[in-house]
Symmetry: C2
Subunit: 287 residues, 2 copies
């Protein structure tokens, strides 16, 4: 089965694949699979989005319901917002195949939702480290996962779970990604610092700039970079932030302390302390 870049997928993903949610994450996966000739059945709560995915060739068949996206497929991929996972897993649980993946950005709540729907043993959580400040199927692209790290985690599983682990790894390698296993709680702590902190940091800094009477047109390349994430879709982050609050709140409290401390250092002409901060982060960022 020759793919778009001439490599052979060698049957690494046997379809059909059902995908619930056709936004930038699910839509990009649908595009990649369809480009390799894997049959995809897609569901979107937005009929226009489903039709757009079909018209783009990303989805061969539109599933009329969540349940229909899970029935009769070999893989079921749930690419909905995190807060929708409990309802979506429950809706598909009865008909779901023994290979279920979600793409949520936080994994402890995703595992809990799967367990709550009785899907624990057949479910793995997969967080591709990709994304866009744009959202929806219109922002999807077949190459989104090429070269992307994908964090995988699982609930403690029954005997024989290792076979599914290997199948899930092969699934992601087949679309060009680089999967690696992690503990779900550790994953979520890392995401709070690596992803949620810079997101809200960009929001906070952008709000101060607006208060100062600036517009993005007043910024140089550095200021534009720092505030790019401030353009992210609020609904995506309102879906995640309540779940990451336990890890994120202490980071924000430390950001508050560090900002106040730097203000004091500048006011007191304590430039040695400022120099220490600048030298330390330069080393970290450029090494």
């Amino acid at each position: 089965m020759p793919g778009p870049d001439g490599r052979s997928m060698d049957g690494a993903i046997e379809g059909p694949v059902g995908i619930a949610g056709l936004g930038v994450m699910g839509g990009s996966l649908a595009r990649a699979l369809s480009a390799w000739g894997v049959p995809v059945r897609g569901f979107s709560p937005d009929p226009d989005e489903a039709r757009a995915a079909r018209d783009a060739g990303a989805v061969g068949e539109i599933a009329p319901t969540v349940e229909a996206s899970a029935a009769g497929v070999r893989w079921w991929v749930v690419a909905t917002p995190l807060s929708a996972l409990p309802a979506v897993f429950s809706a598909g649980a009865r008909s779901a195949p023994p290979r279920v993946i979600d793409l949520a950005s936080l994994q402890a709540p995703a595992l809990a939702a799967a367990r709550g729907a009785g899907l624990g043993p057949v479910h793995r959580s997969a967080h591709p480290m990709v994304g866009s400040e744009r959202s929806g199927f219109g922002a999807s692209q077949a190459a989104l996962y090429a070269g992307a790290p994908v964090w995988l985690s699982r609930a403690p599983v029954a005997e024989g779970g290792g076979a599914l682990d290997r199948e899930v790894e092969a699934f992601w390698r087949a679309v060009g990604a680089e999967p690696a296993w992690i503990d779900a709680a550790e994953h979520d702590r890392r995401m709070a610092a690596a992803s949620h902190l810079p997101q809200v940091g960009a929001n906070l800094i952008a709000a101060l700039m607006e208060d100062a009477g600036l517009s993005p047109a007043d910024l140089g390349p550095g200021g534009l970079d720092v505030t790019r994430l401030a353009g992210s879709a609020p609904e995506m982050w309102l879906d995640l932030l309540p779940h990451s609050a336990p890890a994120l709140v202490p980071l924000l409290e430390r950001l508050a302390e560090a900002s106040a401390e730097l203000a004091r250092d500048l006011e007191n002409h304590d430039h040695d302390r400022v120099a220490t901060l600048l030298a330390r982060t330069r080393r970290w960022r450029t090494e």
Copy 2:
């Protein structure tokens, strides 16, 4: 005089131009002028950097001293760190031509330094809104100023100063930049919010990430963007931050308050307030 992109410079810059400082800013200007055939005499306190600029064809003649870079030229451009301006202006004042420009990122202290050296009437401050987290002649490029906004400011000048204003505007237009006049104090307030705040914000967030055990390899594209400026040269910012402290300290104090407030909102599940912040900055950043 045909330039590298086929346009004619039409004598807009009559040389020779003396440039004191051949880092990324002065070096890029030297490259652009030399590419148009304008004679450039350059000084660097680092003999290796001066030789590199001559070997690259950016500088036709190496000036052995600051004074020599100012003597017998038509324009004298001072492209040193802000903190060096008083000494450099004083060194060149006696021999300087009646067209003196500095490229400092803060203009009230630059104007004060020129006034202190008796150069007020013949000096204009020019801040090109370009830059790089890299520094030194090795990071210079002939096209750095193409399309770049350049803020111009001046001290209250004697009668007849308008002619120099127009010459300075034409100078920057000739290297492809877009000059505009601004009040120096207003410029410096804007820079504190548009440039210094995102710089130190990136430093603060990067330090928290390092504390959390992350390395840049753990970041997605968003986290990399937000922290890119954390790789900036400390010496450049240690040169500027003491001067921008009066405007920057209140911004850092407000960043501290806003961070603590967001932490409280998340802790109290006050998601309406979080939503307001996210929606507001998305509108600002994407409109």
